[in-house]
């Protein structure tokens, strides 16, 4: 057992997999010698050598494309997109190839790639450093998208992602990289992809969130409790494939659902969960499903970001409105 932050948990997961599988390689910009701009890969090159953990030239498309090649040839590359806003040049390789090769070669070739992307806002960062593109990746058939919210989950989900034979987009909520510490086992363990987690039970409304928003929701739930509202909080953990069953059961119990995310509202995870609410719990709904997510605008720069991100107060406001519908 060690007390770990998300950064340390991810580092630990990479360490474990580098040790037990020779096919695992880790690369990206500044990932090798320096150990990553967030120090997530710190010490790994020193431990496993430059041919296994290394720096690549500056080109996201090439990083993704070469990973496809490596995966086809039998390696298990874990690549990093340094920031969410820089991952877009890689989209062509991800969408046109990583997501499709298993299908187009009828299973002959597979692409067991993990693409690690620090994502999300709330860190007073420059432009292009605060994006939340999970809906873009979630919409592409052939990809799995995983987002942990605690160190334990980060480690377990990352190990599961590395061991998955599909391409997994592993999005790391950078805002809470170091904000949460947790006792995490030093041993190897994995958490299944595609399973959401009921963090706390309630009866009046189901609140679904992921990543850095879980913490904000927990604070909102305290406010809700004071107002006499019993809310059930679910950590989605996997964006695709979504854990329909857990969500459905919960809405059938509470009759109400509020979905919290950072990204712009239109065409996002919130919209998807609202569809699920209708499909699975239409007759149980006592209020319209509500997505609590960003405006359909670019994330404002730090001086304006507070308008954009969901805060505990805003989340509570929407929970209350839903319960009082």
């Amino acid at each position: 057992m060690s007390v770990m932050t998300l950064v340390q948990a991810i580092n630990n997961a990479l360490d474990i997999k580098l040790a037990d599988d020779r096919n695992v390689v880790v690369y990206g910009e500044d990932v090798g010698f320096e150990g990553g701009v967030f120090r997530v890969t710190e010490g790994l090159q020193q431990k496993y050598g430059e041919n296994r953990v290394f720096d690549s030239p500056l080109a996201e498309a090439a990083i993704a494309g070469t990973a496809v090649g490596m995966a086809i040839a039998g390696l298990r590359p874990i690549i990093e997109m340094q920031f969410d806003g820089f991952s877009y040049p890689a989209l062509n390789q991800i969408i046109s190839h990583a997501a499709r090769i298993h299908n187009r070669t009828r299973g002959r070739y597979k692409t067991p790639i993990v693409i690690r992307i620090p994502y999300g806002g709330g860190i007073n960062a420059l432009e292009h450093h605060s994006e939340s593109p999970e809906a873009i990746y979630g919409h592409i058939p052939g990809l799995k998208v995983v987002i942990p919210s605690t160190p334990h989950d980060a480690k377990g989900l990352l190990i599961a992602s590395i061991e998955s034979d599909d391409t997994v987009i592993f999005m790391e909520p950078k805002r809470i990289y170091r904000a949460i510490k947790q006792e995490v086992s030093d041993e190897k363990f994995s958490i299944p992809i595609g399973k959401a987690k009921v963090i706390s039970e309630g009866t009046d409304v189901t609140v679904v969130a992921f990543g850095a928003m879980i913490r904000e929701c927990q604070k909102a739930l305290v406010m809700a409790k004071e107002a006499g509202i019993s809310a059930e909080l679910i950590d989605l953990r996997t964006i695709y494939p979504i854990d329909r069953e857990t969500i459905a059961k919960s809405i059938q119990k509470t009759g109400r659902i509020v979905i919290v995310s950072e990204a712009p509202s239109s065409f996002g995870v919130g919209a998807e969960l609202m569809a699920i609410a209708n499909e699975e719990a239409f007759l149980h709904l006592e209020a319209p499903p509500k997505r609590v997510s960003g405006f359909d605008t670019i994330v404002p720069l730090p001086k304006g970001e507070h308008f954009y991100l969901q805060t505990p107060e805003k989340i509570f406001y929407e929970i209350e409105r839903t319960v009082k519908f």
Partner: protein, 427 residues
């Protein structure tokens, strides 16, 4: 003026630093931009410059000590005085800032304190990952039904769901409403046109429901009617006698009570008349209880309260029930329980007038018995023409379920009971 300089965030992701070296001491004059202290962090080792020009009033933290972003580093006096209050303020602000940090609003990247960490999780280790959320039974209802319930001020959780799967539909809500004590008084603003020849009035909830139910009944059940007459002079004699006795007990004795009893006993022998056709599930539903509804005329329209287990009640009890329900109906005090679970219906229009009729079935029941007004009329007895008292009966049944033979057999049974009332207690 006292300026409290807090350890600022100096890089994306780290706001915990260790003091490596102090460049200033208390009482020292310092200029804006001069280095105050050297801080060591995970990412950067750097000097922190002073934002103000003044005199160092206080220094927080010793070399080697780790401090968080937002904690005070130095106090700079721009006037040259020292104050205890400033230090108190600084301490308070530390707490506030830490709390704000915990709330995730201040600063760039938050770093958890040394003392606070989450407990470990079992997930990923135990074999059975049981994730159960405790189940709670709630009614299911369509959103439109819920909306209607809200609009009509009905608690949807009290409404019986008769739709597919047991769901509460708008029909159920409306039905509940018409039988509930708090009947909605729709805004009845009559609209007149210029000529006053045409008057528009919005439909009341009851009227809407009746209209709907009548339509549904006619559209589904195949209505077939049989008319009969029964000579009830014997019954009249009994009634005249007991009318007085019942009146002493404040109960009104009508012929309806006898008809009810006769019908219930006849239903017992002819189960098809006390059934329901369930085409959806390809089956007949036979009921072994006899709840007969009686049509009651009210100012708002027709309501059909139900007398439960008529077969088990005495004439007295039946008469009581009839009085009670009729009164309730007229006073609009009928409850949901008064209205539900009818298996057969009797409509006694005779009290108002009418000999024969073709009553409409109270769907989804199998039949309805109409009772007309008693006629003093010539009848044949022992091949002689005498004055008789004739009660006309009109029975409508659902011909999908009940064939001609069964109809007449059932009706004849009722006729026998009414012609010879003593048979009601003898069998």
């Amino acid at each position: 003026m006292r300026f409290i300089f807090k350890f600022p965030d100096i890089g994306e992701g780290l706001d915990e630093g260790t003091i490596a070296e102090w460049y200033v001491s208390k009482g020292q004059q310092i200029n804006s931009g001069d280095a105050l202290v050297r801080m060591e962090t995970d990412k950067v080792v750097t000097d922190i410059p002073s934002p103000k020009t003044g005199v160092i009033a206080a220094i927080y933290g010793k070399v080697g000590e780790t401090i968080h972003v937002g904690s005070p580093l130095v106090e700079i006096e721009i006037e040259g005085k020292f104050g205890q209050d400033a230090i108190e303020e600084a301490k308070k602000e530390t707490l506030e800032v830490v709390e704000e940090e915990a709330a995730g609003v201040v600063g760039t990247m938050e770093v958890a304190g040394n003392n606070a960490y989450l407990p470990s999780s079992e997930e990923g280790f135990s074999k059975n990952e049981k994730q159960s959320t405790t189940e709670i039974k709630k009614i299911i209802a369509t959103p439109v039904a819920r909306a209607l319930a809200k609009e009509l001020n009905v608690d949807i959780n009290k409404v019986n769901g008769n739709g597919p799967g047991g769901r509460v539909t708008t029909t159920d809500v409306k039905k509940f409403l018409e039988t509930s004590p708090q009947l909605q008084r729709a805004a009845n603003t009559a609209l007149f046109d210029d000529t006053e020849l045409i008057v528009y009035e919005p439909l009341s909830a009851i009227r809407k429901t009746i209209a709907k139910n009548m339509t549904m009944s006619k559209q589904n059940a195949v209505h077939m009617s049989v008319h009969e007459e029964v000579e009830i002079s014997e019954l009249i004699r009994i009634r005249e006698k007991y009318k007085v006795i019942y009146a002493e007990k404040n109960v009104k004795l009508t012929y309806l009570s006898f008809v009810l009893k006769a019908t219930a006993l006849a239903l017992k022998k002819h189960r098809a008349l006390n059934s329901q056709l369930d085409l959806e599930n390809n089956r007949m539903i036979y009921k072994n209880y006899y709840n007969i509804g009686i049509a009651v005329d009210t100012p708002e329209g027709l309501v059909v309260p139900v007398i439960h287990d008529v077969d088990k009640l005495s004439i007295f009890e039946i008469a009581q029930k009839v009085s009670e329900l009729s009164e309730k109906g007229r006073d609009r005090k009928l409850t949901l329980d008064d209205m539900k679970d009818g298996t057969f219906t009797i409509t006694n229009y005779g009290a108002l007038g009418g000999i024969f009729a073709v009553p409409v079935i109270n769907y989804p029941q199998a039949g309805i018995l109409g009772v007309g007004r008693i006629l003093k009329t010539p009848v044949v007895k022992n091949d002689q023409v005498v004055v008789g008292n004739v009660l006309p009966l009109s029975l409508t049944v659902d011909h999908r379920i009940i064939d001609g033979g069964e109809v007449t057999r059932f009706l004849n049974q009722i006729l026998r009971y009414l012609e010879e009332p003593v048979s009601l207690i003898m069998e």
